[in-house]
Symmetry: C2
Subunit: 299 residues, 2 copies
Amino acid sequence: MIGIDWGTTNLRAWRFGAAGMVVESREAPYGVTRLPPGGFDAAFAEVVGEWLADGETGVLIAGMAGSRQGWLEVPYLECPAGVEQIAGATRLLPIAPAAVRIIPGLRTRDADGVPEVLRGEETALIALLARRDAHEATICLPGTHTKWAHVGGDRVLGFTTAMTGEVFEALSQHTILRQSCAPPSADPVPPPGFMAGVAQAKRPGGLLHQAFGLRARWLMGEMAQGEGTGFLSGLLIGHDVAAALESGVSPPIILCGADALVRLYAAALEAFGIPHEVATGEPVAEGLVLVGRRLGLVG
Amino acid sequence: MIGIDWGTTNLRAWRFGAAGMVVESREAPYGVTRLPPGGFDAAFAEVVGEWLADGETGVLIAGMAGSRQGWLEVPYLECPAGVEQIAGATRLLPIAPAAVRIIPGLRTRDADGVPEVLRGEETALIALLARRDAHEATICLPGTHTKWAHVGGDRVLGFTTAMTGEVFEALSQHTILRQSCAPPSADPVPPPGFMAGVAQAKRPGGLLHQAFGLRARWLMGEMAQGEGTGFLSGLLIGHDVAAALESGVSPPIILCGADALVRLYAAALEAFGIPHEVATGEPVAEGLVLVGRRLGLVG
């Protein structure tokens, strides 16, 4: 079976052996927003054509390829949902010589009845669920849009989204805070200023006010040039964590995602005194195998 | 006397008669960030040269001309400060044939000891103070960086800043919310969606999560294209007002600024059940006269 995580900016593809082990993997900058109109077939053929020619026929795709701007729109599936419901809601796109199935995203509503949606993360979530016992937990997938999922039994019960990563980019690049934010550096994690930002987020005052505090500190010489970026990151992640805790999470919190980002969220959760675990590995690939197995595409 | 409000993007100049009445006014796009290096003298001569040739000698400038990137840096004056302290802290820039004085900005610290700064608004604040009795009040000047000033007696006692306007620009133009935000239209005020955004801000959940709610509502067809911009504006102004109230304000709240923006804040304060007044007129020009009078530049 071939599995693809077709995201907004990138595409990752895996070729799985009979037992669901990864045989080969590829990555290409053919995310949904980077393709020309109608460019899905060509990108697909370029990345996995060789594997298809080699005899693979079952293909399973997760992510933005199933969105309205994607290859074939697959409606969001309502929570609670597990691997069985997700497999049953995949949609078939017949592409010679393959049978391509696209996985649905999930939808739910928050405590205020406001809709929530995700695409791609459902595949990681069911893999993380399958690694655990049936007890309730909260899975946090940090990123451009951080997801906090409430899971229990073999289902995703619900989730909320925070625009943490994207707001960080917008504020650090497109506001007056740019002057006080040096480009992020890889070391150390967390960066200087980060824990001060988290500590600030734990106090009242509000994000819109506290963000200006970075500017004012910088003007008054109370924030070093190298600390601004870390402070803003800590302030936003701190607000994200504080709001998630206020909305109610089920401990333990399981963090999964890019290593540096997971370490930032872990440091913030630590500052809030919340127990957490870090999940490693390649959960999207694992989740594709779980859905593929349910559909008889892999052993 | 000549008075100038020299801001970040624009410059406004007034020529005052002997009693402090406005005789003539001019506006030019020569804000501090738009000038070439060393461009202050030329911009100054172009805008007010005629008035100087006509015999004016006293010039008073408020705003970003006194910043580090300005014409002459004038250190921030510590709160509490009133017209007397501000007049005493102006700095002289001798420009033939005039004596140019630049007004200092103000600084203070918020409840967490974080520095706060403003430049230009001090001149409006002392004018609004002079219109009132000595009772404490809160003056709100909405804008790119909204200022909430605590005033009492004849002084500005302290203030806080929220990056409300600038965060609105950054989120509506530089994040995925752009798709759901039509360009703002002048009518009606408040725009469709605004009050729903304010109502959302009164609920727990946090700004980073609630902003994504706009995206998800739009994806699910639960937010009309024309309502997204108003919703985001209401959400941000609602969070600004909620944080200000949580930090403690002294009623009444006096709103002063651009008409449409004042009406948005008034609508949000109304939703929070907080009494408020709207101050009209040209408080910066009034404040320049008050400082000029103290310095003997105008009668």
